[in-house]
Symmetry: D2
Subunit: 449 residues, 4 copies
C-alpha cells in the first residue's frame, strides 16, 4: 500500500513511459511502473499529460527584497511553477550569506517560511578573507557567488580581482563551483554615465549601455582567474552565444568552466519587445537583440550547464521610473520558467522534444550541478518524491494570479502551451493547479552532498 | 501480483539503486522500486549483487560454421554469458544473408533453435546490386555488413570499391549503418605470402602479416566512401586507438562515422600472450602488442560506439595447424564478454565503475545503435524483462563447461571477478548459473524499430 | 664588366624593385641593384615589365610519347613559356625510369636534346623491389612517382598497396618525396565500364566516370601508408579543394604530406567548358565543375606545395575519338602555364599580386620542394642566371605557333594579359619572344642537392 | 663608382650569400652581388663574418628618464648594438606623446639629438578623447600604446576599460596596432601591498607579487576588447608561453591579435638568476622561473610578432633600494639585444640558424609590423643602407663600456659569441666597433608608410 500514486506519461532520465505510474511511499518514490498499478491511499491520474520531476531552479533571489521572510511568497510561487527546489542566491536583504550566523538564520528561515525545498549559495564579502568558505561548505551550501560589478555596496558588492583569486584558490578544496555575475564595472558605469549625460535614458538604452563586450570581458577575466587556480568557475548568466562558446573553449583546454542560461534570454528580444515592455524586461546582463535563435542552437549543442529563472522579488514600483537607469533590474520568473521554455521548445522540437529538454536542462542538470542528485532532479526509485503534472494544452498567463506577492511579469497576457496542474513536494501534494496546499515551513534545506 | 521479482543493486541508465527491485509482468518489466517490494509468484534475491539489463552483443557469428542450426548451442552460450540479444552477422554457412529467402530462413531458424533473442545483419553479394536492401531493411534487419578482404569466396567475400559506393548510396534511405570488416586485401595477402616464403609461420607472425596500416588504410578508404555518399559507415572492429581516433575526426567533420571495439582487444596483448595462446588468440584484425591501455583510454573518451564479442563458432580443430596462416581466425566469446570487461574495468575503476561502464558499452549503446531500444538495453518500466544477476566475487573460468559446443577459449583458466548467476530473457529464467532452463526456439527475432 | 644586364621591375623573393637590374656573369647572377647599372656586354631593358626567375615546372611529361628524343621539342616549348627547368616525370616511352641504365640514358638525352634544364623523377616497377631507390637518389633524382591506377602496363603501371608500403619505407633514408597519381583503379574502371554499357561516352562523362571520391579515396589510402612509414607522401595533382584540405589535416598530425595543383584546374570548369573543348580538356583526374573559386582560395590559404603544368606530349590525333573513353588524357601546357596563372590571378589580385603569386608557386616553392634551390627558383646573387622578362599587356594565344611539336591547346584563342618576351637560361638568351636561340643539348641535368 | 662596399656572408631575406657584397650609393643600397665586386670609395671586408640588416628595435624607452635629450646617449647605444632604427615608446618624461605638439617636439628632438633612425609610438591620455589619433597617424606614428596598470600618473597612466574601447574603435580607420602593457592593476597592487605587509620585499618577491595570472587576465581582457572593435590589439611583452598561445587562439578566431617578446625573457630565469642580479633584472612583467625553453619553442612555432629590447634608460641608482618594490623596473638593453639572442640561438640552432632567426625576428618582422618596410629590415637593392657587420667569435660584455650613459646591465660580465663590429646607418659608417662616428641629429624620423 503506497501513500500516493501518479499515472500519466512519465518522463524518466532516458525515456518516456506512455502508460506509466509513479508510486510514493512517505517522502520518497517507492516504485515506477507501467500497466497495472499498485494500491495507494491517494491517486492522481494525469491521463496523457506529462509527469516530470520537480524542477530545480538553479538561480532564485527569494530574499533579496523582503529579507528572509521573502521565502514565504516566493516558495509558493515556486510550487505553482512546478519548482520543488530553489537554489537561492546569497545577496539577501539586508546582509548577504557570508557567515555561519547568516547561514544558520537562513536555514532557520527555510524551516519557518518556505513551502518548497531550498539549496543555498554562499558568498564572501570584500575584505572578509576566505576562512569561512570551508565551514560554509561543510554545512552544505552548494556554491559560492561573486560579482565583478557592484549592484549594492553591502548586499551585492564588487569583489576586487585579487580577492577573487584568493576565493577561487580557497574554493578548490571545497569542490564547490564559484559563480560570477559577469559585467565589467568600469565599462558599464562609464557607459551609463555617458548615456545619462546625453539624455539617453529610454528603455532601449539599457542594452546599449551594457554592451556585450562588458560581459565578455568580465567572463574572460574570470576564466583566466579560474585557469590559474584550478577552481570551478561558473558564469551565472550569459546573454549571448559567444560567452557560452568562450566557456566551452576554456573547458576544452582543461579549465573547470561552466555557464548558465536564464530562460528570459531564450524568449525575449530587445529589438522586438523593448517598446512594449520597457523596464519590465530589464535584467542584467540585458536581454539583447537577435540572440534567440543562436541561444537555442547553443542549447542543442549542449553548451549551458543548466537553465534557470534568475527570479528577483522586486515589486513593480521598482520598475516605474522615468529613466531606465533608475529602474531596478530583475524580474519575477518562477511561474513562467517551465511553461515559457516548454512553449518555445515545443515550437521548435515538438511537445515530446520540449519535455525532454525541459527535464534535461531544468531538472537533471541543475540537480547534478549543485550536488542535489540523486535525491533531486529525476524520477527514480529511492529519489525524493518531487513530481509535477505538466498539463498539455494552451493556457493564458495572468500575472495578477501569481503567488509571488509581486503580481506582475513581462509574460503577462501570453499563452503557454503547458501548465503546472499538480506539484508534489517530497510526497505531499503542495499545489493542485489552483491552490497552495502546503504550509509555511514544510520546505527543507537541502545540503549539497 | 507480479510474475517475477528480482531484488538487488539495480543498475539503471543513470543511477544504481542499492536496495532495489525489479518486478516483471509477462515478458515486460512492470515496475522498478526500492524498499518494500510487491508480491510476485517467483522471487530472486540477489542481495548486494548487481542486477543489470540483459547484454546486447553487437557482433556474434552464430551460424558461420554449423549453419543456421548453429543458433542452438550459441544462444545457450549467450544466456550463460548474460547476453539476452545477439546481433548476428550475415556471413552464414553456406550462404550469407543477402536475400529475402535467406532472411526468412534465418528468422525461422531463430524460432526453431534460438534460446535468446536475435537481431540480424544483412549483406549484399558482389555483383548482386542493391535492390534488396530496402526490402531487407523493411523486414527489420538492423545493419548491413561488408568486407574489403575476402575470407571465403561466397560466405565472406570482398566487395569492390565501386560496389561499396553503390551499397552506401542505397543505404542512405534505409537509415541503416553499413559495417565493414576493415583490412586491405592486397596488403594482407601479400604480407602473408612473404611470411610464408620466408618460413615465418609461427603464431607471432599473424600480427606482423596483418600490420596496423592494412586496417587503417581500409578504414580511411571506407570513411571517404562514406563521406561521399552520406551513409552511416561503421567499422566493426578496430584493434588500435588510431582507428577510433580517425573515426572521431571524420565524425567531427560531419561524416556519419562510428567504430566498434571487441572485448579481446582490451584484454590480450600479443607480445605478452602469443607464446602461451598461439592460434587460440588469432582473430582478424589481430590482437596487437601494447594497445591495451590506450584502448581503455579511448573508452574513457567515449570513442567506441559499442563493445562486442565477435564470437565465432570455430571448433578448436580449426586452430590446430602447423602454420598460423592455416589456423582459422575467430574465437568464442559469449561467456567471457561481460566477465572479462568487468574484471578489467574493476581493476581500473572499481566495481561500481565497472558495472556502469559495462551497462553503458554493452547494453545501452548497442541497443540504441542497432535500433533495439527502448525494448532492449535498459532496465525500465515497459521494457523487455531481460535481466541479469551479476554476482560479485572471484570465479575461475573453465572453458570445458561452456555451453557453446566448442569448449575452448583463450580465457581458459583465468579468474574473473564477477559471474552470471541468473539470466532472465523476456521474463523467463533462462539460466540459473548452472543450467539452461529455456527451450530451443524460445528466442525471438527482434526487428530494428 | 658583366656579360649580360637586364633592367626592369625585378621580382625578388620578398619584394619588387621597380627600377632594378640584374647583372649576369657567366652562368650565374653576379649582382642585383637599383639605379645606375654596371657595364655589361649585352643589355635587355624591360622597362616596367617584370623580370622574374625562370619558372620551375614541377610536372612535365616530356618523353612519354616520343621517348627520350621528346626532350627536343618539349624543352623549346618550355623556354617559350618562361620555364628554365622542367621536372620530368618517369613514365617514359617505352620504359619508365626505374633503373640506373635508364637514368643514365635519360641524363644523356638531356645532354643531347634538351634546351632547358631538367630535374628527374624516378619510379619503381611492380615487383622490382626497392634496391635501386638509394642509388637513383644518389645520382640525383629529385623524387619518386607511383600510381594507384594503371594507365599503361609497362610505362604507367599500378603499384599494389603492399609494394607501395615497401617503397615508402625505402624512401625514408633517401629523404625524397614519393608522388602519387591518385585515382582508385577499381572505382574508375568500374565506372567507365558502366558508362560504356549505358552508351554514356560523351566528353561530359569523363567527369562522372572519375568521381571525386575515386581521387579522395586513393589520396586517403596513400596518406595512411605515409603515416605508417614516415615517408614524405606527395599527391601530384588534386582536382578539388577537399583533397588539399585532407593533406593539410594529415600534415597537422605530423605526417610529411604535401599536394600539388595543376594550373588547368584553376582555369577550366567542366560544366562551362566541356561542350566547347571536349577531349581537348581531358586530363586525369578530370577537370571538375564548380571548383575554380575554392581552389584559388586554397592557394590563398597556402595549401598547395606548388603549381605545375602536367604537360603531356600527346598529338591531337590522340584526342580525336568518338568516345571520350578512347581519347587520351593529358594536355600540352608549358607555354600556357605562366600566362594562364598570371591572367587569372591578375583578375583577382591585380598585376603585382599576380606576379608575386606566380613567383611563389611556380619558382620559389617548386625549386625548394625538389631540392633545386638555391641554384634555381629565385633571383639572387650567386644563383643560376635563369631569368624571364614577363611582358605586361594583352596577347592572344595561338596554339599553332607553339614550339612543342603538338600545336594544339585547350587555351587556343584565349587572350592572356602577360607574355614571355625573353628567357635567359644560365646566362644564355634562349628565347627572345619569337625565336629559340639556344641549341639542343644546352640544357643540363640538375641533381637534387 | 659606389660610395661604400661591404663584403662578407650577406644575410638576405631568403638566403645567405657566402662570398657576397653590398654596394651603397648615397643613403641607399645600390647593388648586391657575389664574386667580383664593383668599385667603391670605401670598402669594408668582413671576411666570413655576417653582414645583416640594421636591427629594428620594436620597443625602446629612450626618453622616459632624461626627457627628449635622452635620445643622444640612447641612440649611440643603439648603433653600438647594431640597431639602426629604434621604435620609441611614448611615455616620455615629463609628458607622454599624446598631442601634435608633443609629436612635433619629439620629431625635432630626433633631428637634434639622435644618431640613429627613430619611429614613434603615440598614446592617448585618460579622459583625452580620441580626436588626435587620426592626425597623429597621419603624421606618421607607427602604433599606439596603452596600459592597464599605472606606472606614473601622467607619463604612464592606466586607461579605464571604457576608454580603451573608444581608443580601439578609433584606431580601426588608422590601421595602426594598439599596444598594451598587460598587467592587471588591481591584482598587482594588492599583491604588492600584501607582500609589504608581510615584510616580503626581497628581489624574489617581485615575481610572486606580479603573478602570471595578472598578465594573462589583462591580456584576455584586452583581446576581448579587440574582438569587439575589430582593432589590431598587440601585447608589447609577454613573459610566458601561455600568453603567446592565447593570442594565437584569438588570431585563429579572426581577431587581429599579436604579441611581442623581449629578449631578456629568453635569457634570464628568476629561480636561477635572482640572487645574483637582484633588482638589476627587475622588469615588468617580471622575468619568471622555468620559462626559457618553452619561450624558445614558441619562437620556433612562429608565435611572437617580433622580439625587442624594451630598453629603459634608468640609472643604476634607481635600482639600489632596500625593498625590491622601491627599485625601478626596466633595464638597458640596446647593446645586448642582438648579441644575447645570437648567443642563445647559436647554442640551440648553430650559428647560421642563429643569424637567420635574428634577422627574421629583429629586422624583417619589426620593419613589416611597424610599417617601416621596404625601407627598413632587409638587405635589398633600393632599401636604406642600414647594415651591420656581426663579427663571429667570443667577446666578453663589459657594461662600463656601453654608450647609453647608464653603464650597467644584468648581462655585465657575460661572454657573447658575436659582436657588432660595424654599423652603417643610411650609408654612413656610424659605429666602427670602438667609436661612434656619427653626429647628433644625423638620425631621422621614419614615418609609418
Ligand atoms: Zn546576476
Ligand atoms: Zn541572479
Ligand atoms: Zn570481421
Ligand atoms: Zn566479426
Ligand atoms: Zn597523373
Ligand atoms: Zn602528370
Ligand atoms: Zn611595458
Ligand atoms: Zn616597454
Amino acid at each position: 500500500m503506497f501513500d500516493l500514486l501518479l499515472k500519466g506519461s512519465v518522463v524518466l532520465p532516458d525515456r518516456i513511459i506512455e502508460d506509466g505510474w509513479v508510486a510514493v511511499r512517505g517522502e520518497r518514490i517507492g516504485a515506477i511502473g507501467t500497466g497495472e498499478a499498485p494500491q495507494a491511499t491517494k491517486m492522481i491520474d494525469a491521463g496523457t499529460d506529462w509527469i516530470i520531476p520537480g524542477i530545480v531552479d538553479g538561480q532564485t533571489h527569494a530574499t533579496s527584497y523582503k529579507g528572509l521572510p521573502g521565502f514565504e511568497a516566493t516558495s509558493q510561487s515556486a510550487l505553482a511553477g512546478g519548482i520543488t527546489t530553489m537554489v537561492d542566491m546569497p545577496y539577501d536583504n539586508p546582509d548577504p550569506l557570508n557567515t555561519l550566523e547568516r547561514f544558520d538564520a537562513k536555514v532557520q528561515a527555510v524551516h519557518d517560511y518556505s513551502h518548497c525545498d531550498v539549496a543555498l549559495y554562499g558568498t564572501v564579502a570584500p575584505g572578509q578573507g576566505t576562512d569561512l568558505m570551508q565551514p560554509l561548505a561543510d554545512r552544505g551550501i552548494c556554491a559560492f557567488k561573486l560579482s565583478l560589478i557592484e549592484s549594492h555596496p553591502v548586499r551585492f558588492p564588487r569583489i576586487p580581482a585579487d580577492e577573487i583569486l584568493d576565493i577561487l584558490t580557497a574554493s578548490v578544496p571545497t569542490g564547490l563551483p564559484v559563480g560570477l555575475h559577469n559585467e565589467d564595472q568600469e565599462i558599464v558605469r562609464a557607459m551609463i554615465e555617458r548615456h545619462k549625460a546625453q539624455g539617453l535614458t529610454r528603455p532601449e538604452h539599457n542594452e546599449t549601455s551594457r554592451p556585450e563586450v562588458a560581459e565578455l570581458s568580465a567572463t574572460a577575466q574570470f576564466m583566466e582567474l579560474g585557469a590559474a587556480t584550478g577552481a570551478h568557475v561558473h558564469i551565472v548568466h550569459l546573454s549571448s552565444p559567444r560567452g557560452l562558446q568562450m566557456i566551452a573553449e576554456y573547458a576544452a583546454r582543461g579549465v573547470r568552466a561552466t555557464g548558465e542560461l536564464c530562460v528570459h534570454y531564450l524568449h525575449f528580444d530587445a529589438a522586438r519587445d523593448i517598446e512594449r515592455l520597457g523596464a519590465r524586461m530589464k535584467v542584467s546582463p540585458p536581454i539583447r537583440s537577435g540572440m534567440i535563435e543562436d541561444l537555442w542552437q547553443a542549447c542543442e549543442d549542449g553548451l549551458p550547464a543548466l537553465i534557470s529563472s534568475d527570479h528577483s522579488s522586486w515589486p513593480i514600483d521598482n520598475k516605474l521610473a522615468a529613466s531606465i537607469f533608475d529602474a531596478g533590474a530583475g524580474i519575477p520568473g518562477l511561474e513562467t520558467l517551465g511553461p515559457s521554455f516548454y512553449t518555445d521548445a515545443a515550437e521548435r522540437y515538438g511537445e515530446e522534444g520540449a519535455v525532454r529538454r525541459l527535464v534535461d536542462y531544468m531538472c537533471l542538470k541543475p540537480a547534478e550541478f549543485f550536488g542535489l542528485a540523486p535525491r533531486k532532479g529525476a524520477i527514480a526509485a529511492g529519489a525524493d518524491a518531487d513530481l509535477v503534472v505538466l498539463k498539455r494544452g494552451p493556457k493564458p498567463f495572468d500575472a495578477s494570479q501569481t503567488r509571488d506577492g509581486l503580481n506582475w511579469s513581462p509574460y503577462d497576457g501570453e499563452t503557454f502551451t503547458a501548465s503546472v496542474a499538480t506539484t508534489v513536494r517530497r510526497g505531499e501534494i503542495a499545489w493542485d493547479g489552483a491552490q497552495i496546499l502546503s504550509t509555511a515551513g514544510s520546505g527543507a534545506f537541502i545540503p549539497r552532498n
